[in-house]
Symmetry: C2
Subunit: 215 residues, 2 copies
């Protein structure tokens, strides 16, 4: 219901509402942080991308770090939400397949978020360590229980659920985080619709057969 409009943020009208301004800044910040990293990003550049004076950013977000924290939190929540498909499935091929589709769609539509997350974790998660230890751990444990149930029911081979999850994350996020490398190897062209489809099918096929899924 409170969905923000998708129109280009070109509005020159003064007096934005708080929610609107924060969304605009967060969007610009996500792009800049993903392109330059936390250390390489500057408040001035984020302001330029958002089309606002730098001082205005500090009105909504007191510090660079607080802005960054909110960017990462937003990404994490979107990412967790999209993972629910895992549960509404009967067996591993269906559940994991749907999860791969969902995560590949995120990699395609929101690669910036994936890159910011990767950068944050690679640098030791200084800002979202607590999320890793609480929310992510709980989510992971829940999914591990589902996979163990599938194994117990003979619906797939006895694969270590942890390493399977890491493989799913790694493979799907790779298409966002290393999208530039993939595009370069693709003749310096972004993947087409068909190539994204191929990628998804390949991943689903290899993993589904690899774990001996038999829903």
């Amino acid at each position: 219901m409170p969905e923000s409009s998708n129109s280009p943020p070109k509005s020159n009208s003064k007096k934005m509402r708080r929610q609107e301004a924060e969304a605009l800044i967060l969007s610009a910040a996500e792009k800049v942080f993903s392109e330059a990293g936390f250390g390489g990003a500057t408040m001035q550049l984020i302001a330029d991308v958002a089309g606002l004076p730098k001082a205005n950013l500090h009105y909504y977000f007191p510090t660079k770090e607080s802005l960054y924290r909110q960017v990462v939190q937003k990404i994490f929540l979107d990412w967790l939400k999209a993972a629910d498909v895992f549960d509404h499935a009967d067996g591993p091929a269906e559940g994991i397949g749907a999860y791969i589709d969902a995560k590949m769609e995120i990699s395609r539509r929101h690669p910036e978020g994936s890159k910011v997350w990767a950068s944050e974790v690679m640098h030791g998660a200084p800002v979202i360590q607590d999320y890793l230890e609480t929310t992510l751990k709980e989510w992971t444990d829940g999914r591990i229980a589902v996979i163990e149930r599938w194994i117990a029911e003979g619906r797939m081979d006895a694969i270590d659920p942890r390493h399977l999850l890491y493989m799913l994350w790694a493979t799907t996020q790779h298409y966002a985080d290393f999208g530039h490398q993939i595009a370069t190897l693709n003749g310096s062209t972004e993947l087409t619709d068909a190539q994204w489809q191929e990628a998804k099918e390949n991943i689903k096929r290899i993993i589904s057969r690899g774990i001996g899924a038999r829903d």
Copy 2:
């Protein structure tokens, strides 16, 4: 033959040889760049880690960017070299298995390098774009040819070689790049020898079965 010594770089003796000093600086730089990213790293911190005055770094490496470039180049060459195991194999299970072992060993022993590479690519490869377009492309094309031969010989299913390679890179490098997240989910403990072994076995098993390898 011209292998540098493995002794701790604590030497206080003056007048290092050029090779020795450069190796010391490159090692410190790799660590700092991997922890902070290019933008977040400072020459002062690299100097502190190397145990040298900052001005000395600029004697060997004129600019921060030139130092960074050499760090990335060194990583890339090590990484390519370790990939030769791919060719000296009879079939996919053996070749890909050996490649997974080699890359996992790199992820375990030199996670810093993997992180620097990931960071560079994620930010659009501003420094090593030419490597992607030439050396990496050639290496990739060579490996694709090998995989296509295996497929033609009926030694594995008809999987798109590109996406298979991306999956191998993604999965193995994930253990370096996201090592902090993995350790956190592992009860805030680094993976043990046995857990690394499990990880390798899981990956090899899933992919080997997933592509229908029959050496």
